[in-house]
C-alpha cells in the first residue's frame, strides 16, 4: 500500500549550462528532478489520492472547519476558459469577470448585513488581517491611535495572530461560566485603548452570544469597533446577520459557509464586509458599477484604501465557485442549510455518549472525552471508518471533541458517525493506543517527526 516518492522512481540531471542559451554565469549548473512519464504520473497521483480522506469519502466532522459537500457543478463553472484572464487586463476588456464579482459582492453584503464587501483576501486569516487593518486605518484617520484588540479565549488562533501581525497587543478575555463572553469582564477589559473586539458568533462551541447587543454597545461606547469572525456564519444564514448585531467589519469563510472545496488546505477566500463608514478603507482595487453609459463595471482605489493584502485580486477560482453556490441555494436554500446544520448537530449530540458541557448549541458542539484522551479517542474513531472531530480545542472544554457534522450528512450518516464515536469512547486504553490499524499508515509518531525534521526527499537522502 506504500507509494514510493517520485524521486525514488527515477530522477534525471540536466546540464543546464549546456542547454541554456544564456551565458554560464547567469545559469545554474544543473537541475535534478524526477522524470516520470505521463502514465507514471497518472498512477502516482491516482494512488496518492486513494490514500486520502475527503468529504466525498465520508463525514468530516471537524468542529469549526465546516467540511460540507462541494457541489460538482461549481467546478465546471470555474473551469470556463473565458474566465482565465490576466489581472492586468483593462476593465473594459473584462466586463464579464467584473460583473460576476460585483454580483458576489452584493450577495455577500446582503447575507452579512454589510454595506460593502471586498473579495481580495485569499483566505479567512487574510480576511481577518484585512479587517483589522481597516479598523486600524479608521482609528488612525480619527487621529485616535489605539493599541489593543480584545479577543475571547475561545476564539480561533488566527484572531490572536492577526491582531499581533497588525501590531496590536492582544487582550484575552476568559470565557464566562456559561461558555459565552462574560459581559462584566468585557466591560472591564474595554477602554480607550481598544481598537476592536474580535468575536465569533455562534462561538467555537456553537453558542450564540445572546448579549451581543450589549456587547456591541460596550465596545462602541468605548470607541472601538466590532469584528465578526465568519467561521460560524453557516449556522446563522437567514436568521441573523452580523451587520444587524452591531458588527462593523467581518470576514466570510467561503469554504465553510459556501461550499467551496478546501483542497487539502486551501485555496480559500476571505471576503471582508464593512459598514458604510468603513468602505473608504477597503483594499484596492475595488469593483463598482458605473452608469456613465460607457462601461458597466470598473475597478478603482477607495479614497483611504489600506492598499493591498494580495498581489492581485485574490483567489478568483474560489470566488466564482462561491457565486455559483449562493446562486444555487438562494434565500430559501441558504436558510435551509443553516436549519439542517443545526438540526444535524443537535441530532448527533443526542446519539453520542459523551457529555456536552455547554448549550444550547447550534451547528457544532464541544463534547468532552472526560477522563479519556480526546486525541486517542479520535484515533480510535479512525478504526471505525470515519474522520474524527477537532480535538483538544477549544480549551474551555476539557479533552474537547469539537464536532460539526454540517447540513450535508444524512440521518444514516450521523448514526454511523455516532456509532463510531461511542465505540471508540468505549474502547479500552490499550485498543485506543494501538489505533488505527486499518488505515494507510498506523499511528504516526508526530513528536519524533518534529524532533528530527526531515522536510524533503533530499533530507531523507533520496536524492
Amino acid at each position: 500500500r506504500h507509494e514510493p516518492l517520485l524521486s525514488e522512481k527515477g530522477q534525471k540531471t540536466v546540464d543546464v549550462e549546456e542547454a541554456s542559451p544564456l551565458p554560464d554565469a547567469l545559469t545554474r549548473d544543473e537541475l535534478t528532478l524526477p522524470n516520470p512519464s505521463e502514465p507514471e504520473v497518472a498512477r502516482h497521483y491516482t494512488r496518492l489520492s486513494q490514500m486520502n480522506w475527503a468529504i466525498d469519502s465520508g463525514p468530516y466532522p471537524l468542529g469549526s472547519c465546516t467540511m460540507k459537500y462541494n457541489p460538482k457543478f461549481i467546478e465546471d463553472v470555474a473551469a470556463d476558459p473565458n474566465g482565465a484572464v490576466h489581472p492586468d487586463r483593462s476593465d473594459r476588456s473584462v466586463q464579464g469577470t467584473l460583473e460576476l464579482l460585483a454580483g458576489l459582492q452584493e450577495y455577500l453584503a446582503a447575507i452579512g448585513g454589510m454595506d460593502a464587501v471586498t473579495l481580495q483576501p485569499p483566505a479567512g486569516a487574510a480576511g481577518e488581517f484585512t479587517g483589522i487593518l481597516i479598523a486600524k486605518a479608521y482609528h488612525e484617520k480619527q487621529g485616535n491611535d489605539r493599541s489593543e484588540v480584545v479577543i475571547p479565549a475561545s476564539a480561533h488562533g488566527t484572531n490572536f495572530a492577526t491582531a499581533a501581525m497588525a501590531g496590536y497587543d492582544v487582550v484575552e478575555l476568559p470565557s464566562g461560566e456559561d461558555g459565552r463572553v462574560d459581559v462584566e469582564a468585557l466591560d472591564a477589559a474595554v477602554g480607550e485603548d481598544t481598537a476592536a473586539l474580535m468575536l465569533t458568533n455562534p462561538n467555537t462551541v456553537g453558542l450564540f452570544e445572546r448579549d451581543i447587543a450589549e456587547i456591541a454597545d460596550i465596545v462602541h461606547d468605548a470607541g472601538g469597533l466590532l469584528y465578526y469572525d465568519g467561521a460560524n456564519l453557516n449556522a446563522l444564514l437567514g436568521r441573523g446577520r452580523p451587520g444587524d448585531m452591531g458588527f462593523d467589519v467581518m470576514h466570510y469563510n467561503v469554504h465553510k459557509t459556501f461550499a467551496t472545496p478546501h483542497g487539502g488546505g486551501g485555496p480559500g477566500a476571505g471576503p471582508v464586509g464593512v459598514v458604510e463608514e468603513l468602505a473608504e478603507f477597503l483594499p484596492t482595487p475595488h469593483i463598482r458599477e458605473v452608469n456613465d453609459g460607457k462601461i458597466g463595471y470598473e475597478t478603482y482605489e477607495p479614497e483611504h484604501s489600506i492598499g493591498k493584502v494580495h498581489g492581485f485580486a485574490g483567489n478568483w477560482l474560489v470566488l466564482i465557485k462561491t457565486y455559483a453556490y449562493i446562486a444555487r441555494l438562494g434565500d430559501a436554500g441558504l436558510s435551509d442549510a443553516a436549519a439542517k446544520a443545526v438540526l444535524n448537530a443537535n441530532y448527533l449530540a443526542e446519539q453520542i455518549d459523551l457529555e456536552i458541557p455547554h448549550g444550547p448549541f447550534h451547528h457544532e458542539f464541544g463534547a468532552t472525552a472526560g477522563d479519556r484522551d480526546a486525541a486517542d479517542v479520535a484515533k480510535g474513531m479512525l478504526e471505525y471508518g470515519v474522520h474524527p472531530p477537532t480535538t483538544k480545542w477549544p480549551e474551555m472544554v476539557p479533552e474537547a471533541m469539537l464536532t460539526e457534522p454540517t447540513e450535508a450528512e444524512s440521518q444514516a450518516s450521523l448514526d454511523h458517525l455516532a456509532s463510531a464515536f461511542n465505540r471508540a469512547y468505549a474502547d479500552d486504553d490499550e485498543a485506543l493506543a494501538a489505533a488505527p490499524t486499518r488505515t494507510t499508515a498506523r499511528r504516526i509518531d508526530q513528536a519524533d517527526a518534529a524532533r528530527n525534521p526531515r522536510l524533503s526527499w533530499q533530507a531523507l537522502g533520496e536524492r
Binding site: 545559469t27 505521463e38 490572536f160 461550499a259 483542497g263 498581489g311
Partner: protein
Amino acid sequence: MSGSPYAPHTPAETAAMLDAVGVDDEEELFDIPEEVAFDGEFGIEPRTEREIRAECARLLARNDDLTEFLGRGHYGHYVPSVVDHLADRAEFITSYTQYQPEITQGFLQALFEYQSMLVELTGLSIANCSMYDAATALAESATLADRVRSTTGDVVLVPEQLREGKREVLTNYCDGADLTVETYPMDDGIVDVDALAERAGEDVVMIYAENPTVRGCIEEHLTAIGEVADETDALFTLGSDVVALSVLQEPASVGADVVVGEAGALGMPPAYGMGLGLFACAEEFLRQVPGRLVGAGEDAEGTRAYTLTLQTREQHIRKERATSNICTNQAWVALRAAIHAATLGPDGLVDLANDCVREAETIAAAIDDLSGASAPVHDRHHFREFAVRTDQPAAAIAGDLERKGFAVHVIGEHLLQVCVTELNAGEADALVEAFSEVL
C-alpha cells in the same frame, strides 16, 4: 425544491430527527434574541445548476477575447490536461488540512514532494507547503527577517522597480512589525549594486532582489548582492518563480537566505491573479518559517509516513506568538504545481525556461525593427518579458493594440511591457504586425 439541494434530508428523516431532538421544528433550536434576529430576505433567487452554468458562461463571454502578452508576476504557461484530471480527483480537492495524518498520507506525500522540488530549485533546505502568492510570501519573509534580525535596524530594502502590489502587501505586513520599506536604485533594469552597498548598513534588516526583475531582466549581480547582505547582516530574500529557477542561478549558490515568488507559474492557467506563494529558506530559520511544513516520520510499524510538523510555529497552537496568522493556504495549487513539474520533468522544465529566454529575445528584436519603438529598453538578458519604449504615448498604443485583439502592459508614459510564453508565442508575429500598424 425550496431547501438546500445538498442537505440530504427527506421529510420523513427530518421529522424523525426533530423528534429525537425533542423539538417541533428547526427554528426552536436557534437561540437568537429577537432584537438581533433577521427575518428579512437577501433577495437571492435560487437557480438550477443548468441555469447558473448558462448565466456564468454568458457573463464570462462578455470578456473580450484578447491574446494576452501579459506577465509582471502572473504568468500563463500551458497546463497539461493530466494536471486538471489528477488534481480534480475528489480525494484531493474535497479534503481538508491533514490533521489526521493516518488517513491523509496521499496529500501529505504530494506536499512533501512539492517541498522537495522547491528545495532542488532553490538549493535551500526548507520549503513550506505554500503561501497565498508571491506578494504575501515576500511580506512574510520581512516578518521572518524581523524575528531573526541581527541588526538594530528596521528597514526593508526593495528595488525601485517592483510590482506595486508586492510593495503594498509588504508595507502592510511591515507596518505591524514596525518595519519600514525603502527602495534602492536600479541600473538599466537590474540592481545598482554600488548604490545598494552604499545604502545597506545597520538599519537594514532585509534586502530584497528579484531574478528575473519585474521587467523581465535577468539579474547579473546576485553574488554581489548576497555579499552586501552578508556583510551587513541583512537577510537576503530573492524573488523568482519556479520556471525561471529551473535555469537561472541557484539562489543558495549566491547566498540567498530566503526565496519567495510565484510557484503558480506551473499548474495554474491565468486566473485573474490567483497564485501560489513560493517560500523557501535556509535550515537555520526552520523554526521561524511561516506556514505549514510536511515532514517525514514513522508510523507504529516503522514504515515511513508523513505528517504536518513543527506546528508550534503556527497560530492554532502559538496564537499571537505564531510566525504568521496563515491557516488555509494554497495546498491544492501546490499539488497542481507539483503535478505539472513532475509531468514536465527536468528536461521539459529546462526546455520551457529556455524558450522563455529565446522567445523574449526574438520578439523584442522584431519590435525593435519597427520605427516608433525600441526594445528591449534594458540592455540585458531577458526572461519571458521585456519593456518597449514608444515614441507615441504608450497608453494610446496599448488601446489601439487592444482594439486589434492584443493586451500588453502600460508601465510608463512611453513604456510598454510585453510577456511571451508558449501560450502566445504563436501569435507573436501577429502582435508585431499589429504594433507596426499602431506605432
